[in-house]
Symmetry: C2
Subunit: 265 residues, 2 copies
DNA sequence: GCTCAAATTTGCTCTAGCGCAAAGAAGCTC
DNA sequence: GAGCTTCTTTGCGCTAGAGCAAATTTGAGC
């Protein structure tokens, strides 16, 4: 099953590590068995093109790490000691200004990675990662990460592609922020969230994470008041159905119309 | 001199490549001799920790590429076929929206690299690179880049650190844009430019690149009108001295006061 | 020195969106 | 289900800054 090259010793260690991880997850966490973890990692873009047997090796080097709603995986400004892949839950990545304004950079869910770049560049986390739902992640520290990168070269390239994608997304958001008006940005934010975390229900697409008006404001560079007004308006037009920290998109196309600034029918 | 391992053939090729490059630069370009190129690359963060002899190898794989003011090294949307290191001049990296709004992401100068991430991730340039002064850059195509990365592992890590830094900067700018008001953002932009391209003169710190009010607006997410008003105001207070596409900072501390929102004396 | 295009300034108007305040909902906890 | 906290909505006033128009300045080329 473990069909990679290496000394017997290292194989033993790895298997032992895997067993320990299995034990931890089962006993401490009462959660996802290893098989599913494997599937999850295999699905993660970071491990694309890497053999399941090799992914097991990676798994063995990981530590599980839990965070309940409101707890942090790491804080902005701390030394970046590890990178994480989320197994379960939702995590909010945000920056806070010296004046106390918060800005939400993005939300993440299962199979997303956080901290990949920073851990390798030996710096400090540039933002904080807070669980907005009870979450579980796998954690690799600096040494483990370096070792993995050396063992499995595709990882480095995958990581790079990932980073390139994120970079581009951030650049696009920057452009939006500087050229588009609020309503459009909010529409885009909702559509983005729908793509990431949308759950199809009979009411429409439910954004499966607790999302306050304040959060949306911090995602789009506006205030909770303005967001509230916009949502009320959309609700009247039948585009969305909102509740406390809960949004269902009933008419995605309506939002697209706004996001793309198309003529309204 | 070329003290790396490799077959005689490859050494020959490399030396030949180097000679060809020298010839090109001397004959076609009438510019910087190889020795200076070496020094420049050695100064570039990308090549940090790499031996001069090895840098020569990298140089041999590069092609010189010139762009006069107004010409582009690459355009947004083109396949990312190469990455560049600027030798001389100034380059403006900007994105343009479908509606035609332009956004300036940053300016770059000698020893800065452009396109490092994208070339390796086989995507498309997410922005355009326009020379705002006559410029010369070294160009490595995909194959050359890959080869270099394999030959000199520190390159990959250096690249990663570089990207991490850029990423962080962009995140900070994003935060600024979404939480701070225009005057502050413009002050920050000027200080950033001063750090990058500032030339000490007896008048003060001259920003050594042609910079219109429009440019500054596109850098800070505002309009040329507002920038003009702000600069006029600052000129009256003696913080800056402005001309057509020309800005001299007379009182950096004054700008810092605004950028940091300190109480005015 | 004249001409012309491009950059800049400034007055004026207008509005998107900020932000306070105060009054509802909606969930928790006990 | 009473009480509390935390979200949300909405009215209202206000201002930062957009954006047009019309001078005015600047520098480059001839």
């Amino acid at each position: 099953m473990l069909q990679f090259g290496g000394s017997i010793d290292s194989v033993t260690t790895l298997v032992f590590g895997l067993d320990r991880l299995r034990a931890k997850i089962h006993v401490d966490m009462h959660i996802t068995p290893t098989v599913e973890l494997l599937g999850l990692l295999a699905k993660s873009p970071l491990f694309k093109g890497i053999e399941p047997a090799e992914i097991e090796v990676a798994l063995a080097a990981a530590q599980p790490r839990r965070a309940s709603r409101g707890e942090f995986f790491f804080h902005q400004g701390e030394a970046a000691e590890a990178f994480f892949i989320i197994v379960e839950g939702r995590v909010r990545l945000s920056q806070i200004t010296p004046e106390g304004h918060q800005v939400i950079i993005r939300f993440m869910g299962p199979s997303d990675g956080m901290g990949i770049i920073v851990v390798l560049s030996n710096t400090v986390y540039p933002l904080s990662a807070e669980a907005v739902a009870d979450s579980l992640a796998l954690r690799w520290n600096y040494d483990a990460t370096m070792e993995l990168m050396e063992q499995f070269p595709p990882l480095a390239l995958n990581g790079l592609r990932l980073v390139a994608g994120r970079f581009q997304e951030l650049q696009d958001r920057y452009r939006e922020l500087s050229t588009e008006r609020v309503e459009r940005r909010v529409a885009r934010a909702l559509l983005r969230l729908a793509r990431q975390t949308g759950q199809r229900t009979d009411e429409g697409v439910l954004l499966d994470l607790p999302l306050s008006r304040q959060d949306l404001g911090e995602m789009t560079g506006t205030t909770l008041y303005t967001v509230s007004r916009i949502l009320s308006n959309w609700e009247q037009q039948g585009f969305v159905r909102t509740g406390r920290e809960r949004i269902v998109i009933r008419d995605p196309h309506g939002l697209v119309t706004i996001a793309e600034d198309l003529p309204k029918r």
